[in-house]
């Protein structure tokens, strides 16, 4: 039986799979996902705990190894053990533990584990079914493999930063917020790990999976890459819209309560119809000089984008649709605009801050936020939970992150009773 038990009594897709994860700043999300999918994930930290326990934010803003919300989030559902790998008893225990595991997840500087005889090659002769996943900045064989990186320098080097920022290019380009370089590598690492594990079931052998964080970000930049690969063209960053080869019109709108909203500019008949009815209901039609063109959009059967450049009437209709939608947005609170637009068949969104996601009824209705008990504090907190609903093997946050060395005894038993 996998430990810890899932609070809902279910079994996950990775029930019975044991993962040894060497704690790292950049690979922790991958281990968390495997744990949420049902694996028994044992996170191995150095004595005193991993450095990321010192990353904020902290519970009540008071630092402490058991108070880091960073650590909490990225390590839910894992078992924790602290081992000194430079001490024989520590490295021996890790060796036994790995020998009793199915998947190893690590982000150590390439070569470091080999020096300790704790790399994939050392285990392969005796444990050929082991799936070993390395997540490193440039992959294991790069000449730059030991250079220092952070999420910022990673995303600058590999493409994401070039595409983000403002129309004003005197302002620097911008890093996508929230450690997305690390996350990108971790999602790729998980899907690769699952493929390798599947192959082990069908082919009978494990293997080494070498994930490059730099490569992961490089292939996660959409048009920036294929515009260059296919057409030799370079995209330029633009405020609140896609980086593109050509400058596109501003798309964000401001609601009556000062929120930022965006919406699909009407093109189809139904969208012009919806806008026409909406403006009429709100009493805006008489205040909008170009309303005539909105109605014309209905009569004409919408407008085709290619027509807009060559056909003044189509251009006027398209512009009236955009201006009308902007007028509606300015008339309503942002949340109402977003929800009503969608209900009327006009795709739209409000710029949600993280707290808006927590307060919004949709996410709770799907069971996205889950209560995680912190028995040590006598409290429980809402955490982001399942990214997908899988009825017979649910994605489950099975419990809080481990304290430093909390599961030492269990882990020793798992390693073979040492």
């Amino acid at each position: 039986m996998t430990f810890p038990d899932r609070p809902d009594g279910s079994s996950g897709a990775l029930e019975g799979v044991r993962v040894v994860e060497l704690a790292s700043e950049h690979g922790a999300l991958a281990g968390k996902i495997l744990a949420d999918l049902g694996a028994e994930v044992i996170v191995v930290e150095p004595p005193g705990g991993h450095a990321s326990r010192r990353f904020g934010p902290f519970l009540d803003d008071v630092p402490g190894a058991e108070r880091s919300l960073w650590w909490w989030y990225y390590n839910t559902g894992k078992l924790g053990v602290a081992l000194d790998l430079h001490d024989t008893s520590g490295s021996d225990l890790l060796r036994s533990l790995i020998a009793a595991s199915d998947i190893v997840l690590e982000g150590e500087p390439p070569g470091q584990l080999a020096e300790l005889g704790l790399d994939f090659e050392s285990f392969e002769p005796e444990r050929p079914e082991l799936v070993w996943v390395s997540i490193t900045p440039f992959g294991r064989s790069s000449p730059r493999s030991r250079e220092p990186i952070t999420d910022l320098t990673l995303q600058a080097d590999a493409g994401p930063v070039w595409s983000c920022g403002y129309d004003d290019h005197l302002l620097p380009p911008v890093r996508p917020g929230g450690n997305q370089g690390y996350h990108t590598a971790c999602l790729w690492a998980v899907e690769a790990a699952l493929v390798a594990f599947y192959a082990r079931q069908t082919l009978g052998f494990g293997q080494h999976v070498d994930v490059s964080m730099n490569a992961a970000c490089n292939v996660t930049t959409e048009a920036a890459t294929y515009e260059w690969l296919v057409a030799g063209a370079t995209v330029e960053r633009q405020t609140f819209r896609h980086a593109a080869v050509r400058v596109t019109p501003p798309r964000e709108m401001t609601s009556a309560d000062g929120q930022t909203v965006i919406g699909a500019l009407p093109r189809r008949t139904g969208e012009f119809q919806a806008l026409s009815e909406w403006m009429t209901e709100l009493g805006l039609r008489d205040r909008f000089d170009e309303f005539f063109f909105v109605e014309m959009g209905v009569e004409r059967g919408g407008v085709q984008l290619p027509d807009i450049t060559g056909d003044p009437e189509a251009a006027a209709i398209y512009q009236a649709g955009a201006d009308g939608l902007r007028m509606v947005a300015a008339h309503l609170p942002g949340k109402e605009f977003f929800v009503q637009a969608q209900q009327r068949g006009i795709p739209a969104a409000m710029l949600f801050a993280p707290e808006d996601v927590v307060e919004d009824p949709h996410f709770s209705a799907r069971g996205f936020f889950v209560d995680v008990e912190h028995d040590d504090l006598g409290r429980s907190f809402l955490y982001p939970g399942p990214v997908f609903q899988a009825p017979t093997s649910p994605w489950t946050v099975r419990g809080r992150a481990p304290h430093v060395d909390e599961h030492a005894e269990r882990v020793r038993r798992a390693a073979g009773g040492m």
């Binding site: 897709a13 320098t153 493409g159 292939v219």
Partner: protein, 411 residues
């Protein structure tokens, strides 16, 4: 080389990037992915079939550069599901598939007559994976989205910007990539569960949930500490408050729109940086520790920017890394694709052969497998390119049947 997913068959309705990206990866790992498209609309439900960039002046559903990029190594068939024969052929295909994937708006598969119960009646242990903007439950289940709307609705667009300015949002469909990555994870999780228990299931992905999931610590700061991100001076994603690092930013360099990213993780990094700057202001005591640098971070950034602005970004970044300080030039696409030994050494831009477009470079896979590595050689399928292979060779129908059905508009 043996392929990891040989023998695995996916009946694939998914398109755009959020869907197609998932089965692209699995196809590169050896799965037989059969993309099913509508001949009546020329496959344009997936708009990427017809949009730029193009390799030359030719246009049409077989020439969209993004479609080629996202559909390498797949087979492509057309089926008019408004016809009885079309429906029957799809039933035959589902019956011999392991997985069915789609990223239509909720309700479309049911209207086609292929909701989960129908699929399960054709193949008891089918793994059916749906991927949509808000998922198939909850008050927003019918809402339509694409990348920018998902990113606005999940909190990630808000988290990207410079203090004192409006959020910049993410300048591409980041969550389409990760919708695809999460979908690949869901498919493989479903298959592993099936292998263990014999049970299939319907897995329902919400891209907006996935986006919120990728902003965890900020969400916990609100649910645990009650601190909203909507506050003065926040967000400022070029800086780092968790963990606290300063200096930490993107600074101007010599030339037009040239920038370098520099991050000092700790006081040791700062001392190394100060050693390279070698200016008297760096020696002031207030910069020596992180709290001091954070307190006057605007001034610190201004002084650093004055220093970097006359320097070449590549040589500066190399010098700083040599000194142990994380630093990188903000690379343009041309630079990271054509002039970066890292991506070249990885084999990150493989060339594929497309039946009409010819040889085109595409995205590779950021993981190398020591025994069953990925293969990306074949371009995306033209519309209906593999009808004969799939309906004839695979499903066993005769040439006469295929000719008749083609005349009836089934394909």
């Amino acid at each position: 080389m043996t392929s990891a997913l040989g023998g695995l068959r996916i009946c694939d309705f998914s398109g755009q990037l959020a869907g197609a990206g998932a089965t692209r990866f699995l196809a590169a790992m050896g799965a037989e992915v059969i993309r099913v498209e509508d001949p009546v609309t020329h496959g344009y439900w997936d708009v990427l079939r017809g949009v730029s960039p193009f390799v030359d002046e030719r246009r049409g559903p077989d020439f969209g550069g993004p479609f080629n990029n996202h559909n390498v190594e797949k087979l492509g068939v057309t089926l008019n599901l408004r016809t009885d024969v079309g429906k029957e052929l799809l039933r035959e295909l589902v019956a011999i598939s392991d997985v069915v994937t789609e990223n239509f708006a909720p309700g479309v598969m049911a209207r086609l007559g292929f909701a989960y119960d129908a699929l399960r009646s054709l193949k008891e242990d089918i793994v059916y994976v749906s991927n949509s903007g808000y998922g198939h439950s909850g008050p927003y289940r019918d809402f339509k989205t694409w990348g920018p709307l998902v990113q606005a609705g999940c909190g990630l667009a808000f988290a990207t910007g410079i203090a004192g300015h409006h959020p910049a949002a993410i300048g591409y469909s980041y969550m389409d990539h990760h919708g695809a990555n999460v979908m690949a994870i869901a498919i493989m999780a479903g298959l592993l569960h099936r292998n263990r228990t014999g049970d299939g299931q319907w897995i329902d992905i919400s891209c907006t949930d996935a986006g919120a999931f990728l902003n965890g610590p900020a969400l916990l700061d609100y649910t645990v500490n009650g601190r909203p991100l909507r506050r003065s001076g926040s967000p400022d994603s070029n800086r780092s408050r968790a963990p606290v690092m300063a200096p930490h930013g993107i600074y101007p360099c010599d030339g037009e729109d040239n920038w370098v990213a520099i991050a000092c993780r700790d006081d040791r990094d700062w001392r190394a940086l100060a050693g390279v700057v070698a200016a008297s202001w760096c020696a002031e005591a207030r910069w020596a520790s992180c709290p001091g640098r954070v307190e006057a971070e605007d001034e610190l950034d201004r002084r650093l920017a004055e220093w970097t602005s006359s320097l070449d970004r590549f040589s500066l970044a190399a010098t700083l890394r040599e000194a142990g300080v994380p630093a990188a030039a903000v690379q343009r696409p041309s630079e990271r694709i054509d002039h970066d030994p890292e991506t070249a050494g990885w084999g990150l831009w493989p060339s594929v052969t497309h039946s009409k477009m010819g040889t085109v470079r595409v995205d590779g896979i950021p993981a190398h497998f020591s025994k069953t590595d990925w293969v990306i050689e074949r371009g995306a399928p033209c519309l209906g390119e593999h009808n004969d292979v799939v309906f004839g060779d695979l499903l066993g129908h005769t040439d006469e049947e295929l000719v008749a059905w083609r005349a009836q508009g089934v394909f």
